[in-house]
Symmetry: C2
Amino acid sequence: MKYNKEGNFAYINVMDYIENKVKTGAWTLGKKLPTQRDMAYSFNVNRSTIIHAYNRLKDKGILESKTGSGTYVSDQYYSSISRQIVNWTDFSRYSVHPVNHQVVQKINRLETKENLIQLGKGELHHSLFPKYKFQKSLNSMADMYHDYGYNDATGDKRFKEAIRYYLQQRGVSCTISSILPVSGALQALQLISLGLLQYGSTVFTSNISYIHSLHVFRATGMQMKGIPLHNGSLNTKQLRRQLHIPTLNSVLYLNPTFHNPTGETMSAETRREIIKISQEYQLPIIEDDIFRDLWIDKEPEPPIASIDHHGHTLLVGSFSKTIAPTLRIGWIAAPEDVIEKLSDLRMQLDYGTSSLPQLAVYDFIKTGKYEQHLKKLRIELKKRRDKMHSLLEKYLNDIATWKCPEGGMFFWVKFSEKISINELFSRLLDHGILINPGYIYSPYNNQYVRLSYVSTTMEDMETGVHAIKKVTDGM
Amino acid sequence: MKYNKEGNFAYINVMDYIENKVKTGAWTLGKKLPTQRDMAYSFNVNRSTIIHAYNRLKDKGILESKTGSGTYVSDQYYSSISRQIVNWTDFSRYSVHPVNHQVVQKINRLETKENLIQLGKGELHHSLFPKYKFQKSLNSMADMYHDYGYNDATGDKRFKEAIRYYLQQRGVSCTISSILPVSGALQALQLISLGLLQYGSTVFTSNISYIHSLHVFRATGMQMKGIPLHNGSLNTKQLRRQLHIPTLNSVLYLNPTFHNPTGETMSAETRREIIKISQEYQLPIIEDDIFRDLWIDKEPEPPIASIDHHGHTLLVGSFSKTIAPTLRIGWIAAPEDVIEKLSDLRMQLDYGTSSLPQLAVYDFIKTGKYEQHLKKLRIELKKRRDKMHSLLEKYLNDIATWKCPEGGMFFWVKFSEKISINELFSRLLDHGILINPGYIYSPYNNQYVRLSYVSTTMEDMETGVHAIKKVTDGM
């Protein structure tokens, strides 16, 4: 007697759904229900059907209305059992870990919507993932996975050997004991922060930065100090000036190659200067190098870690940007003492990284398929980067400026003062287009927008940039 | 000109090894070298070879001796380049996250040694892993893995549906939005602690507990309050007494089924009393239920979560104890509000759990292979539990007492006062046998030892228990 589509008993379907949520404890007492509009949309029924279902549930004492506020799971329903119930929202309001910035939370949510044009997302469009090639590596897993038991959280030797080889190809020599697999760059930052820094340690970084890095450092009690960018590179003079102020153990966090969000790459000269500063002030460096393999025109400068012979640089990499984010696999390369310490920390936090993604990536690298994939990917990246560049010239030449990136995923586009980025963000969303406003990367960059040339189809890219033109015309 | 075995040039091999470590930054300046004995063992050469290699490296200025302290990577070596170097050991001494208890660190390290008899380890012996059956699930991965892109960290729907079904079979009804995949129980505790508790929140738990749980709560700023056990169940009267003292948001952490390390299972009556207390005091419960599927004689009491209809219980499970620890896959089942909050937290910490172990376990459950595996496993567990019981009777009847467990992995053995557990631990290690001393689970239980009946061969189990007899005879 249930109908998914409008029918005599459609409201029963809705009632069952809600009663089930309440009965199973998924919706706890006092929970606010979705709006009638949202429910009608979800069930593909008229609002009147939802209103009817809500009313019936109110009659049954399961729901209750609060005037002007909405419909709630009723307190009375369970009153015979208990008068008091944990309010989880209150419970977590003052939690140790602060909640995400609201706009960031919103973007996180919207980034999973398939009906939106993802014009800001830091992720390859699904057509660019190496699905066919990678399947072969997945197929080899059953033969490779034989260490079922707990290990010491230092990771699978085969994966580490593959990373050692991978790094060697990119100018960095290290031993396999200097490599720790992690679930991605974000976890790497969390481990470094928890394992090596102190509450109140200073993290120097460019004053425009990957949002989640700032968050993870702040959440673990670090002070952030922004260093301005100068011609796309870190202003090292400013950094030196800051370092004269005595601080607790400090660290320098950099994303020197195809920087997120600006797309800039540090010159060889600045890299050398950074190393010099690191020696002089005993300032360790976290080098976040996750975009390196996405070069288009020419191979970028080798990692800072390759010219640091003092073990000051903790090099962080990931395959989320080149193979697949849902694999959750990356690595830290650092002095063995550091890796030992961070492995111990992982034994306390989560017992290390799953063997499965380690083995799949090991096979992908070992068989040369990873490099084959990159070669093919670079051709696509060039097409897309050039397309985005020409679209910006075609539509936004009058109201925005940008620099054409040599790799990575993003154009960092500056709009003229007359454009409100907040309004642009909202209006584009109404058109089904999601962009990343610059202010989430830095409060000083509220005229900027991060546009991705990798995360949509070519057609959607044109639709998206054209929509920006149309929306800004009306502002 | 290199020899792995003793030969004219064996010392060159050692020198190359060390020079490479120093050159690549894996061993940084000031690092203390392994002892000559350890090095000789590692290279399978005489100590004189190591001494020769060390001396040559001292001549080259790469190593230096400090009298009575050992051999170090020399400061002078790099003096032309820099006088100052980050001392990572100092750097991390005051880190946010405290280092592991030394004995625990030692056990962590020793648990990966294959030449030791693992008589304390909480892990199935490799012959008990479902390798053959699981390979089929691994083989299905290539067809199942198609969502390469970032998701919202809430996990793969297929995995969550499998867990919903799994929980239903065990008496817990919930929706898939109430389920969050995690890397294991340990990460679940970390997420709950960071996401729902406050600095200084009180975590009530039995005063004998899984060591890493205590560590993760403490490291995130929680106060631990131990509640004594009473006839193997939590002393609920004591808990009530404690709850009269006003505290910040508190939480009760329980491992009610085949408790680690005691092996005890809470009665239905105590479970109901716990739920009553939870209602009365609005005290949320973390139910760590990772040993449930390892029952031997009869199915244990259903989870506390199954009799809690108020959404107070956060149920935590894992497949590390039944399929394989290196998969790193488990789950939290909790009210949707809580799951939403914890998913947001994961977006900030590590972007969620790898899809690969989720899909492998989904297939393993869906095809019925998981239940088949458990059935077979239980037969083996019974054999082993009975064997351990008879060995204890045969060898340790005079000096120890224990209760035969109905499931899980452990015997919690109490030794007579005349036995020093610390000495027992050390002497057994000399015999190549590793046990877990009770005091790492609780300072009040320094006459106890945790013995595992699942982590060795049957032969090694006998060798191990017999060795305890021999060692204690001499004490």
